[in-house]
Amino acid sequence: MVHTSLDVVDEKISAMGKALVDQRELYLGLLYPTEDYKVYGYVTNSKVKFVMVVDSSNPALRDNEIRSMFRKLHNSYTDVMCNPFYNPGDRIQSRAFDSMVTSMMIQVC
């Protein structure tokens, strides 16, 4: 997982060069022979990266679903960021954020 995430980051870095506003990238190509899971990357305008690792157990999620999930994630993240008590880099402990993420995950599964 770590390797994949690093790879993903590298990919994004390269993506940054060309299209700065790359809201969403589907990194479906990363499928290990043993672990079939997909890694989705999403970068915001502020270079914040969201990486989503999905097991390919269920029929692959549609691209749109992934996109919507990232959008929701992004919105929730901005809400969390608005909190002056939150220091960027800390683990997000926002209950609202957690509940949103959980609901998203449940919805998908």
Binding site: D79, C82, N83, P84, F85, Q93, S94, R95
Partner: protein
């Protein structure tokens, strides 16, 4: 009064007391309320109290200013010491002990007095601290003082004094206990979760260390007041839970908040009465919050940036996680800044948390920021507003009903239009009380369809009802004339209602109501279309007849069509706000109306004239309005008939009908113009006309097409013409007046529209919540 010299201790003590009494922060303490309590607590006989008040000048001024208060306190001290009360005694008596006020809440004050006097040297650092643990009394007073938090050390210093003080406080003497006392009496803390937000502040603070020491001290003195902390709001949490919590909160007290006003707030909180709703903010608390808000952001309508709020709330010594959660709850619009409402909610939550309340998962309703109104009530302002608005549409229908019966009676013949009339009825009545006025209004309404929708918006319920009425009337009129028009008028009626519902008055600025209903867009104005439609119809109908007439008629219809419709609807009342336009519309609409309005105009009469005068009529009318009617002479017979008819109707109608009459005799079209006028006028005409109208329409159409211009008879024409001229002139004046009124209405409506748009813009930022 004369210069009053106070020692440092006295100064401090007095300022504390003053702050305590000055809950409004107005620097003027009313004679009643706390001051009186305080003085009574001094255990002085009433007459002495009165004397003191007199001496200090409060009775003269009517309130206790700071100086008066200080003087009064000094006099209390004097009295307590046994010295006679005299003005000069305030300065002459040296080494006067601080006034002692006994009552439960005042225990601490007395303790403070003692402590002050005894610990004056310690006071320096002590001022304003609420070192809870240390000597209850003294600490408390320190806490009460709104000075900045003093390092705990000072509190510790106080401790030596506490033994002195403690004897006085047999009950758990800590200031907190004091507070508790005050609280309990005041009200059964049962639901005062946040009664002591003030104490809350005291816990904040740096001198954490002292607390433990203080605790030790206290335990030494007396059973550590379990409730030590009002500071920590331990007292305030609802009733019984408070007590158990105290021991825990005792520790909290060590944290003394740097906020100076904390102590003041505490006192205020102390006094707060029980709540019904654990999350409800009392006025005192709210006042405190507002004051705190002001210290950060002077503009009450402005925002507190996140960083400032963070710093402020960090002082509360709550864990960051909890503060973060509180922020999430209270920053309703997620903008990273706190409005006044958001700030109050956040502050309230912090207070609750300090008191041991668990933070809710969702923001309680009473803490929801309100968009528009800055109320503390649990209800959201907009909701109430909405309710109010929603009521308005409801009002409209009822309002319609009263008018309807009356109108129905007047328009018995208007069978088909009865529904329309039903709708329309309200219109005339609402607009103006007087009948005549109503008629004019009706006429205006036809023209004002567009305006009506907007105006109600501003006025809300009443207006809505009016608007509905108007719409209905418009509908009615349009129904008579043009079918297509009705739909739009229908839409109008619904629009006001929607608008009413949607328009909620929101307090916009401070609150950030989660979902501000967007102000409904001004209702569309169908009238133009109506008029257009009618005009189109007119054109069509007239086109058949004669070109010249057409020109005149066509030109007018666009402008006037609305009028004729409403005029018809109200029927009884409208005399026809007569304008040339209205007349014209009448004429123009008449053709349209013909199909629908059997009753208007005097079809009976038309029958007489059915043959040929239609064209004449139209010509007459068209010409008449704009100018004198040469036609009249041509169609004397018709005009005479018209005249006869008009007599029965309003003058306007007659005027209109006169020309119509002129041509009426000949053409079926004559009835149309007349019917238009009739509508304006009264139902009588309508009745007979309704039936005839239907017949006439067909005839008129045919006649119009074929009518020769003016087969007017000459004979009685002269008289008829003169009469018709007279009538026309009157009609002209009436129409002119109506026109001006309509213009005024239009202006008003436009203004309303502008204001609504402005509101919309203001509320737009909240639309996204």
């Amino acid at each position: 009064m004369e210069g009053l010299t106070l020692s440092d201790a006295e100064q401090k003590y007095y300022s504390d007391l003053f702050s305590y009494c000055d809950i409004e922060s107005t620097k003027k303490v009313a004679a009643n309320g706390r001051v009186l309590e305080l003085f009574r607590a001094a255990q002085l006989p009433n007459d002495v109290v009165l004397q003191i008040m007199e001496l200090c000048g409060a009775t003269r001024l009517g309130y206790f200013g700071r100086s008066q208060f200080y003087i009064a306190l000094k006099l209390v001290a004097v009295a307590q010491s046994g010295f006679p009360l005299r003005v000069e005694s305030i300065n002459t008596v040296k080494d006067l002990p601080l006034p002692r006020f006994i009552a439960s809440k005042n225990e601490q004050e007395s303790r403070h007095a003692a402590s002050y006097s005894s610990d004056s040297e310690n006071q320096g650092s002590y001022s304003g601290v609420i070192p809870p643990p240390p000597g209850r009394g003294q600490v408390k007073k320190g806490s009460v003082s709104h000075d900045a938090v003093q390092p705990r050390t000072s509190a510790d210093q106080q401790e030596p004094a506490s033994p002195v003080v403690s004897p006085q406080q047999s009950p758990p003497a800590s200031p907190h206990t004091w507070r508790k006392h005050s609280r309990h009496p005041s009200g059964g803390n049962s639901e005062r979760p946040l009664a002591g937000p003030g104490p809350f502040w005291s816990p904040f603070g740096e001198a954490q260390s002292g607390s433990s020491a203080g605790d030790a001290v206290w335990s030494g003195h007396s059973p550590p007041p379990p409730q030590e902390n009002w500071v920590s709001f331990a007292d305030t949490p609802p009733t019984s839970t408070l007590l158990p919590m105290h021991p825990a909160s005792v520790q909290d007290q060590t944290t003394v908040r740097t906020v100076a006003s904390a102590t003041t707030a505490n006192e205020i909180r102390r006094q707060s009465s029980s709540y019904d709703d654990p999350w409800k903010i009392t006025d005192e608390q709210r006042q405190y919050y507002v004051n705190q808000f002001k210290t950060i952001q002077p503009d009450l309508n402005g925002f507190i940036p996140g960083s400032a709020a963070k710093e402020f709330f960090t002082k509360s010594k709550l864990p960051i996680l909890e503060l973060s959660h509180i922020w999430e709850l209270s920053d309703f619009d997620k903008d990273g800044a706190l409005t006044l409402d958001e700030f109050c909610a956040a502050f309230h939550l912090v207070v609750a948390r300090k008191n041991g309340y668990d933070l809710p998962e969702k923001l309680p309703e009473s803490l929801m920021p309100k968009l528009i109104d800055l109320e503390d009530s649990a209800d959201v302002g907009d909701q109430t507003g909405e309710v109010g608005y929603s009521g308005s549409p409801a009002e409209a229908p009822p309002s319609k009903s009263p008018s309807m019966p009356s109108l129905n009676q007047t328009w018995p013949e208007m069978n088909q239009s009865s529904e329309d009339t039903a709708i329309v009825h309200p219109v005339p009545i609402r607009m103006t009380p007087s009948k005549i006025h109503m008629q004019e209004m009706e006429l205006k309404r036809t023209g004002n369809d567009h305006t009506n929708p907007t105006s109600p918006l501003l006025v809300k319920p009443s207006d809505l009802s009016e608007e509905n009425k108007i719409n209905s009337s418009v509908k009615f009129a349009s129904g008579n004339t043009v079918a297509d028009g009705y739909s739009s008028s229908d839409s109008f009626t619904s629009d006001p209602e929607q608008i009413g519902n949607n328009v909620t008055r929101q307090r916009s600025h401070s609150g950030t109501s989660p979902d501000n209903p967007a102000p409904p867009p001004p209702p569309p104005r169908p009238q133009p279309s109506h008029s257009r439609s009618s005009s189109l119809d007119m054109n069509r109908t007239f086109a058949v007849t004669t070109g010249q007439q057409q020109a005149g008629v066509v030109a007018h219809p666009p402008a006037v069509p609305p009028r004729p419709q409403p005029s018809q609807a109200p029927g009884p009342v409208v005399h026809r706000p007569v304008d040339a336009d209205s007349l014209i519309t009448h004429t123009s609409t008449s053709p349209q109306q013909i199909p629908e309005q059997p009753n208007f105009a005097d079809f009976s009469q038309f029958e007489v004239f059915a043959a040929s005068n239609v064209n004449e009529e139209q010509e007459d009318e068209a010409e008449k309005h704009p100018e004198v009617l040469p036609v009249e002479k041509a169609s004397d017979p018709a005009s005479s008939l018209r005249v006869a008819k008009t007599d029965s109707k309003s003058e306007e109608k007659t005027a209109a009908s006169a020309p119509a009459n002129v041509s009426k005799g000949t053409t079926p079209l004559a009835p149309p113009p007349k019917p238009v006028r009739r509508r304006l006028k009264s139902e009588d005409e309508l009745r007979p006309e309704v039936d005839e109208h239907t017949q006439k329409t067909g005839v008129l159409a045919g006649v119009l097409t074929s009518q020769p211009p003016l087969p007017r008879s000459v004979g009685k024409d002269k008289k008829a013409i003169q009469a018709s001229i007279r009538r026309n002139k009157e009609a002209n004046t009436v129409l002119a007046r109506l026109n001006s009124e309509l213009q005024q209405q239009l202006k008003d409506v436009l203004e309303e529209r502008i204001s609504l748009e402005v509101q919309l813009e203001q509320l737009r930022p909240f639309s996204h919540l």
